[in-house]
């Protein structure tokens, strides 16, 4: 009777009924096995859950906020009237969709070049990994610039319109976040993920105009920082090749 079997017996998992009966018989008949099992139980029982780690106050607040914003978004969606054709909303939606299509086309199509190799044409076959990274970066930069423009000229008079537009940006953001993860750009994925709570706060219908303006300024700043960083990284890459 080895210790591994005794470990499974301790956890009451991973042994058949027959194996459990064998362990019980050995424990009853063999004092050495019983002593080993007792020592094992003592040691495993001593491996109690380590101390809890305190959550930083700002993180705790962020989690509370995220529930409030999610609830607010839901209420906004429910309060929206049945869809009727609205030219400004249609134009905004079309513009965002076009930007999304271009960005995704550049970013995701080229990054998936490897998996498409057998049916791809000569241009795809010629692509190097660095080309993929460059294409993806270009797509992200385009998305960030478009988002900057959309936010700076976003209508703030009707909460429903604003919420709808921001929801579309959030959807785009998630697509790019997933694409960043697929491209092993974890830091970029984290930055994009961090945009989401700010966007959701901006979408709330009860936000004061000055708060909305402050959030827009914060987002514009963050987007600018990200764009500068991406441009600098791209420049470094091109110098090193």
């Amino acid at each position: 009777m080895n210790d591994d079997t005794l470990v499974l017996y301790y956890y009451n998992d991973g042994l058949s009924d027959r194996e459990r009966r064998q362990v019980e018989a050995a424990l009853n008949s063999d004092p050495a096995v019983a002593a080993r099992y007792e020592a094992l139980c003592r040691q495993l029982n001593d491996m109690a859950d380590p101390a809890l780690h305190a959550v930083p106050a700002h993180t705790l607040q962020r989690w509370h906020d995220s529930i409030d914003r999610a609830a607010q978004m839901e209420r906004n969606r429910q309060q929206q009237p049945t869809p009727s054709f609205s030219l400004p909303s249609f134009v905004w939606g079309a513009a965002i969709t076009a930007a999304l299509a271009i960005g995704i086309a550049i970013g995701v199509f080229f990054t998936s070049a490897d998996t498409n190799a057998p049916i791809a044409d000569f241009r795809v076959a010629d692509l190097q990994p660095q080309d993929n990274a460059t294409a993806f970066t270009r797509g992200v930069k385009m998305y960030l610039r478009d988002t900057q423009q959309e936010l700076s000229s976003m209508p703030v008079d009707t909460a429903a319109d604003r919420a709808m537009l921001i929801l579309q940006i959030v959807e785009q953001n998630r697509l790019f976040e997933r694409a960043a993860e697929q491209n092993d750009s974890q830091s970029l994925a984290r930055v994009l993920r961090a945009f989401e709570p700010i966007l959701l706060r901006l979408a709330a219908d009860d936000i004061a105009p000055e708060d909305a303006e402050a959030l827009r300024a914060q987002l514009a700043f963050e987007l600018n920082v990200m764009l500068t960083k991406l441009s600098r990284d791209a420049s470094k890459d091109s110098q090193s090749t």
Partner: protein, 178 residues
Amino acid sequence: MVAILQSPSAPTQADFHAAISDRSDRWFSACLKITRNRDMAEDAVQDALLSAWNKRHQFDSSARLDTWIHRIAINAALQILRKSRPNAFEPLETDIPDHNDTPEHTRANQELGKNLAAALTHLSEIERVCFVLKHLEQWRLKEIADEIDTNVGAVKQAIFRAVRKLRVRMAGLQGEAL
């Protein structure tokens, strides 16, 4: 139709706030044990909260909300860990050597209180995750295997190795304390 699908006692916004206030340190600590990275653990809890909120109408009202979110948070942590290190859960055929026996590490462990948290740092990724899920979170072997895309045999082996290493290390730490 929606009204039929939705549970009449879906948790409310206030329920979520109460759960966050009371239990988020447990969710965070559990995720931290899985990921060993504070940012990733924070992201896991954030993802879990939004996911739980969006699925709150599927919540079984006979269960506890905080336990439900706890489980979702651990799944989120595993997902984040897998994304960040795609080979994290590949089973190892042999024991990996312990590279953490430098004097600095020994001192750090002593400062950490010679507890399980310190001993866990000496395990490989799959050993740590399987042990934490089995021993601290009381998951079934099959659940662990399903969640990390491996088989029950590999999970058992990871737990056996983890227990062997932890017993030696904890015994050593307790010996030093005497």
